[in-house]
């Protein structure tokens, strides 16, 4: 399920990235606006300092102005006046008519902070008194604020706090949202993965994505139904073959043993029996293989003492009357005797029998087969080795290349070697075990099955 989680982690991080980018962009834009506004043409380019410098008062209090002063004021639609300590206008230039020539201390306090009858004014101390420069009405906005330091600090901290809280809330919301989407979508993605692995899914058909879940369930059950039909079909066919095959085997066996028949006829009967027996094992392998493939064969898990299980399998061969060309040895050790694994005894025995049978089938000129079972605390190792013709490198590659699914058999329709090894693969997989085949041409073949002991 790694890809699904990875996807959502990436999605979450990319959302965080988007937010960070968004913030950064906003900061850049904000300062751009500030710079742009800063550069907008000033309505009052007039500087009170320049004006103040152009009004010179000598020691006796006489005022002289520079020549360009009226011009500067004119250009800026501004006016200027100088008040003495008593609030009387002692000098003025372009002073609007409606303005009085005498001001009280209260008037001065008022206009220095706000407006003088609607005129925004600048006020500056001058050696000759108080210089007041006014500009056009509605050209300037005057702010005044008086705050204590504590207030500024609080505002500053507050703004930072709000900013941080905002960030946290946004991140949490994104996280929650991602989680929500993940909760809805992850099962669907997992469902798709499950279906692609050939298993059925059952997703809850509720919530916002109920419809998709429903469709996925339908797809899964459709595939399962198809697989089932296939397994049923194989099972049906193998069932129908069994009874006629019993009759063939029965009569062929009898003809073979009938001493009143000519030797040639008995030999022919033996051929029929042998081929019939091949068909017999193919039919039962095919049925079990298809059931395991489509998980229709429930495993009967129980304690299996592998050593004894293997002994019984080997004895079946020896008692079944194998040809003199073959010998089967069995080896184990006393410690392994008491170790058990969890597994389906019948299937494990079947796997072992198939391996022994394989050695016999592939060595028509005879060979000796050795079976060994060694168990330690954690694993059980079942090895079947023969000293026969071995397997070509090519064939070995084929055997190892996980061609253990029935599909590959269908595609190739290559049943020349029977389903024996495929079935062993399936049984080993069903028990979470591993299978290792080693062989060299003319140098025998060895197959080692390893099973974990404690698995459920």
């Amino acid at each position: 399920m790694k890809p699904v989680e990875r996807f959502f982690r990436k999605y979450f991080l990319s959302m965080i990235g988007v937010i960070v980018l968004f913030l950064f962009l906003n900061i850049v834009l904000f300062f751009s606006v500030l710079i742009w506004a800063w550069q907008s043409p000033d309505l009052a380019e007039i500087s009170i300092y320049d004006i103040s410098e152009r009004i010179i008062a000598d020691e006796s209090g006489n005022l002289t102005t520079e020549n360009d002063l009226p011009e500067i004021l004119q250009e800026n639609h501004a006016w200027a006046m100088l008040l003495d300590d008593k609030g009387t206008v002692v000098w003025q230039e372009h002073l609007p008519d409606e303005l009085p020539l005498q001001y009280t201390a209260a008037d001065i306090a008022k206009f220095s902070r706000w407006y003088l009858q609607g005129y925004p004014v600048y006020v500056q101390e001058h050696p000759g008194g108080l210089l007041v420069v006014g500009v056009e009405k509605n050209s300037l906005v005057k702010y005044n604020f008086i705050v204590n330091e504590d207030y500024i600090k609080k505002i500053f901290i507050g703004i930072i706090a709000v900013f941080i809280v905002n960030i946290i809330v946004v991140v949490l919301l994104i996280w929650k949202n991602t989680h929500h989407v993940e909760k809805a979508v992850a099962p669907i993605l997992r469902g798709i993965e499950t279906i692609s692995a050939g298993q059925t899914v059952l997703l809850p058909e509720k919530g916002e994505l109920a419809e998709i879940n429903q469709k996925l369930n339908k797809a899964g059950s459709f595939i399962a139904k198809k697989d089932n039909a296939r397994a049923e079909w194989i099972s049906g066919i193998s069932h129908d073959i069994r009874t006629p095959l019993s009759v063939i085997l029965g009569f062929a066996g009898q003809l073979e043993d009938d001493e009143s028949l000519p030797a040639a006829a008995r030999e022919q009967a033996a051929y029929i029996r042998r081929q019939g027996e091949k068909l017999r094992s193919l039919v039962s392998d095919l049925n079990l293989a298809s059931k395991l493939e489509y998980s229709m064969q429930p495993l009967r898990m129980e304690k299996v003492f592998a050593v004894e299980m293997a002994r019984q399998a080997v004895c079946e061969f020896l008692d079944g009357g194998i040809d003199n060309l073959y010998t089967i040895d069995f080896a184990s050790d006393p410690q392994s005797e008491t170790v058990f694994m969890l597994g389906d005894a019948a299937l494990l025995k079947r796997a072992l029998c198939n391996l022994i049978q394989n050695s016999i089938t592939h060595n028509p000129k005879g060979c000796s087969v050795s079976v060994s079972v060694i168990c330690n605390e954690s694993s059980t190792f079942i090895t079947v080795a023969d000293d026969g013709v071995g397997v070509s490198t090519e064939k070995l590659k084929e055997l190892r290349a996980k061609t253990r699914h029935i599909e590959s058999i269908d595609e190739k329709l290559n049943l020349k070697h029977g389903l024996g090894i495929l079935l062993v693969w399936q049984i080993v997989e069903a028990h979470h075990g591993t299978m290792e085949i080693t062989s060299a041409p003319q140098n025998g073949c060895q197959t080692c099955l390893t099973f974990p002991n404690g698995q459920k």
């Binding site: 019993s246 085997l249 009569f251 066996g253 003492f305 004895c315 020896l318």
Partner: protein
């Protein structure tokens, strides 16, 4: 044993002919066949056979149902014959009281051996005396007769010997032998088993270190060779 009545029930006529031929070829004289459950019940109601071989899948009534009907009135040994290899079928059959189970397609020899084993178990012969190369064993008396001497077998030796005798000619694994003495949990008994085997050999063999009747199959188990047996 060969005079026991065996009823074979299968809907496939050819299979009935074949099984009859197998049994008669092996010397059985009382073989009855029925091609339907109904026919089988009719035959059973007339006279209960000594053994029944039942096909599981039949058109009128499945073998399990027929088995139940038979079990309601008799404990006659029943061998189930089925074309389905599923373990579930096997267990269902045993739960309903079948004695054994064979999956089609079977080999004639396998059928004969199983039937023989069931009959032997169900109808034990009196005066069961087993003749070996150098001695005779009287299972009823649990004693060995060697050179005119009567040597008793201990209880455990008897258990082991009986298991070997029941499977005479076949290898009996170490596990199965231990199981016949100890039951399900037998692991760890192997060395004791070897001691018992040695004692049995001392009683039945001429030269216990070169046994001719109770043979060791290395690593696997033991095999009892009975004189006059065809194997």
């Amino acid at each position: 044993m060969l005079d026991k009545t065996i009823l074979v029930v299968d809907d496939e006529q050819d299979l009935l002919v074949m099984t009859r031929s197998i049994f008669e070829g092996a010397g059985y004289t009382q073989i009855e066949t029925a091609s339907s459950a109904e026919g089988a019940l009719r035959l059973i109601s007339k006279k209960m056979p000594d053994m029944v071989i039942l096909d599981v899948m039949m058109p009128d009534m499945d073998g399990f149902e027929l088995l139940q009907e038979i079990r309601a009135v008799s404990s006659v040994p029943v061998l189930m014959l089925t074309a389905r290899g599923e373990a579930e079928d096997k267990f269902a059959g045993f739960e309903l009281g079948a004695d054994d189970y064979i999956v089609k397609p079977f080999l004639p020899k396998e059928l004969l051996l199983r039937v023989q084993a069931i009959l032997k178990r169900a109808y034990p012969e009196k005066n069961r005396i087993i003749t070996l190369e150098n001695s005779m064993i009287d299972l009823d008396q649990a004693e060995v007769i060697k050179n005119g001497q009567h040597i008793p077998l201990t209880a455990k030796e008897y258990c082991i010997f009986q298991k070997l005798a029941d499977n005479a000619g076949h290898i009996v694994t170490i596990g199965l032998l231990c199981q016949s003495v100890c039951g399900e949990i037998w692991q760890g008994y192997e060395t004791t088993l070897m001691t018992h085997i040695r004692h049995i050999r001392e009683k039945i063999e001429k030269n216990p270190s070169e046994p001719v009747s109770l043979l060791t199959v290395k690593g696997l188990g033991y095999k009892l060779v009975v004189r006059g047996a065809d194997k």
